[in-house]
Symmetry: none
Subunit: 542 residues, 2 copies
Amino acid sequence: MTRQEPADTPLGDDFHLYDTTLRDGAQREGITYSVADKLAVARLLDELGVGFIEGGWPGALPKDTEFFAKAAAGELQLKHAALVAFGSTRKANTTADQDKQVRALLDSQAPVITLVAKSDLRHIERALRVDVDEACEMVRDTVSFLVAEGRRVFVDLEHFFDGYEFSPETSYRVLDAAASGGADVMVLCDTNGGQLPLGLAETVRTIKDKTGFRLGIHCQDDTSCAVANSIAAVQAGATHVQCTANGYGERAGNADLFAVTGNLVAKLGMEVLPTGRAAELTRVSHALAEIANLAPDTHQAYVGSSAFAHKAGLHASAIKVDPLLYNHIDPASVGNDMRVLVTEMAGRASLELKGRELGVDLAGQPEALTRSVRKVKLLESEGWSFEAADASLELLLHREIGSDFLDEPPFVLESYRVVMDHRADGEVVSEATVRVHVGDQRVIATAEGTGPVHALDAALREALTPHLPWLDTVELADYKVRILPGHPGTDAVTRVLVETTDGHTEWTTVGVHGNIVEASWLALCDALVHKAATVRESLVTK
Amino acid sequence: MTRQEPADTPLGDDFHLYDTTLRDGAQREGITYSVADKLAVARLLDELGVGFIEGGWPGALPKDTEFFAKAAAGELQLKHAALVAFGSTRKANTTADQDKQVRALLDSQAPVITLVAKSDLRHIERALRVDVDEACEMVRDTVSFLVAEGRRVFVDLEHFFDGYEFSPETSYRVLDAAASGGADVMVLCDTNGGQLPLGLAETVRTIKDKTGFRLGIHCQDDTSCAVANSIAAVQAGATHVQCTANGYGERAGNADLFAVTGNLVAKLGMEVLPTGRAAELTRVSHALAEIANLAPDTHQAYVGSSAFAHKAGLHASAIKVDPLLYNHIDPASVGNDMRVLVTEMAGRASLELKGRELGVDLAGQPEALTRSVRKVKLLESEGWSFEAADASLELLLHREIGSDFLDEPPFVLESYRVVMDHRADGEVVSEATVRVHVGDQRVIATAEGTGPVHALDAALREALTPHLPWLDTVELADYKVRILPGHPGTDAVTRVLVETTDGHTEWTTVGVHGNIVEASWLALCDALVHKAATVRESLVTK
């Protein structure tokens, strides 16, 4: 059994930063994570240093079952977080050990299990259709069975606050059932999201005083108070807080992990992350938006690109003298920047730092650094984004410092043509022809594909594989398309992110163009140029 | 002098719902209101029934000066709200009656004036560069001058909470200066937005107890708590709350007028709007987003299109029986709707519910319902998703019940061809040719575009516009592409969502195919078929 507690956070097990992006966050309209996405999300959350990562509902959703199987097989090595499986208490009128869904939770091999339990009398009677005795027994029996099997168990008390208002007695009975079964944390859930902070804090304090149980909090954002409610609950005695990345979730969403963490660290002085990790909040937030294929919210607290942007006007000089008089925290503490001061110096510093991370030393080359900063700014104004495309940024920096391996590109494009026919018989076919130069040879190749980009990729492989033997091991691992906002209609700028793998490592490249096929082409080319460079050991893949 | 109090709200002057979209909201990156926009915003806010509308800073910004001149000339007839001009206290070492900026406030003829005053010792000393005596005199003198001229005066105490923590004595002195000058409301501003609700409520209560002054609250969203802080302040004794539409504002933004109002009305039972007007919240929110030229936030509390959207699945039957068990309020009370998202887990109950929402009655047609469920499940297994594509789902249901308007499609495709060239000179060009039948004519048209989909759309318009006059008003409002997970690499299934508008309503359609161009084509076709049906009044656009 793997770890059941957070590792390396100053607060240890005394406080739980608990993420449910992969389960409750996935309820957001429009989000569909693949198993590969889920693994990538879990790795990023672990890098940030959250204490618990809820991976999904094994047994209920095939993709979640597969995710836990891969994790158990060693594909997910968590350094900081404990992995959690979510599930329901057993069905009525059976026993936990005979309930298929409960069995699936054990089979997932997750060391920690969060069970959802109904605690609102109306839901018990109208949706569950059992009496309170049986509802409590379902909770107690399931918890104690899983605890006996060596699992750490948390219980999410669904609709807790509405239920407490309607029938406090029922709430206390379900709380007792969970605790007597051996649950570690009773998580009070504002499932319909209707709470406000002052009232919620009072309820949490009352429950804490009356029961002495370890309490958690789970808030939805239907009053636009999910973050505030989560913080108020912590101030009232909760020591476990459930969030989702960027507040993704059903309806108005959940409590945003980044704002909650920012507030806990910067406002309450609680060291809920491993030392130094708060500075990763902005980067991780944006990377998780990329994986969800959603544009980052530019006005998000703490991590939005506008969170510290000042239309300075009146106050420009005052801000320059004393920036902290105009910001509620130092933006760098959460990995963000104050935009009014994003001068070339600030841009230089971060690009130099990033270059060092990518193995490109710009410290001694001020002119190359200046050119790089200018180039990145220009490209970003055209819609490029290097946040999730390290390999493309690495190539850009090498181009600016004039690294000589770029003198020998693996191939040079002359031209390509893609033809796409929807025929009168209904068949849709795509065909691409590329004309490239490899070494001193000119090669022409044609291939078909399911779509224009696939056909183009196939034709390029057809042309290059005889000359570049390593190409056989290289394949596309992921392909994402984003139509950039501010350009409505199909006449828009398209950004393509391509993740490529050679079976050992992955690297991500980006292409931007008004034409999606050309944008894809640019990203594909960068991916191959990057690989060719690593083959010559000039670069290290990331 | 026009009205200085809100009209027609049950709470009258006892509570102030105060909007500063036109001044503080305009600080949001990317918002630029014309004078006509400002008048339109003010009219919408007045229709909603807010008590005060802050129109801008006359004398400081030419557009604001012009706005107030037009209002004074009778172009803005407010039924409910009092109009407010914003400005600063007089400069140091002069008198209010000789200060040009103060004179401009009088000249604006606004009946109510909100003055911003520094109340944080550090800002007084470092930014204003005067001592506390002079800072207080600047406030007192300016307020009393304007009051003597017949204006009602509110004072925004900038950086109040940070200043109170640093030097409470200074805060009290400035508060006293404002009150002794004759100000009606002392507005405590969390200018840097760093507060949390429990602490903020305690401060507001202390100030209220010590001074007895009428207090207001103005919150920024830097901790993601602006709405919660505003509500907590009201619960602690503030009777004046400053908001902006949709939370527009500098950095992370301001307290959102719609969430604050929703909470005051639905949670605290305060009648802050004229009777019945809460049902306008959703409409006004979306209209104000339009004027700001920003996409509405689909996940915004109370008013977002997803605010009451449920991925039904497991709970569909329970939701059908008792929707209020799954919503924190009745969505209709704020002019919103409950939406059931048709997802993989959807069954008969949720599809029937969804049909009713779309005006397709499946209750009496069990066989059509069975066919529809089977069709939706099949399509979803192939990567289709109707969550965000109501118009396509509506057409699907009409096809299954055999609605006869589908017998006359607006056009029938014979074939199309798209050619995309990346030429040897580096230029990238796209060209599309469509062959369609319109009525009994066969039409062939060719067009170029920035990309393959754009070219195809242009060619289709070229072919159809002479035959379908309504096509002129129809345009693409948004275009989204998603490469579906589980199909890595470019050989993937692509899902395209197209939002189309005719200037009055929007509708969204979906297309899925291995080929992105064909997927786009399918969504484009559904969009036109849907429009054609509404033109024949067979359907109502959503």
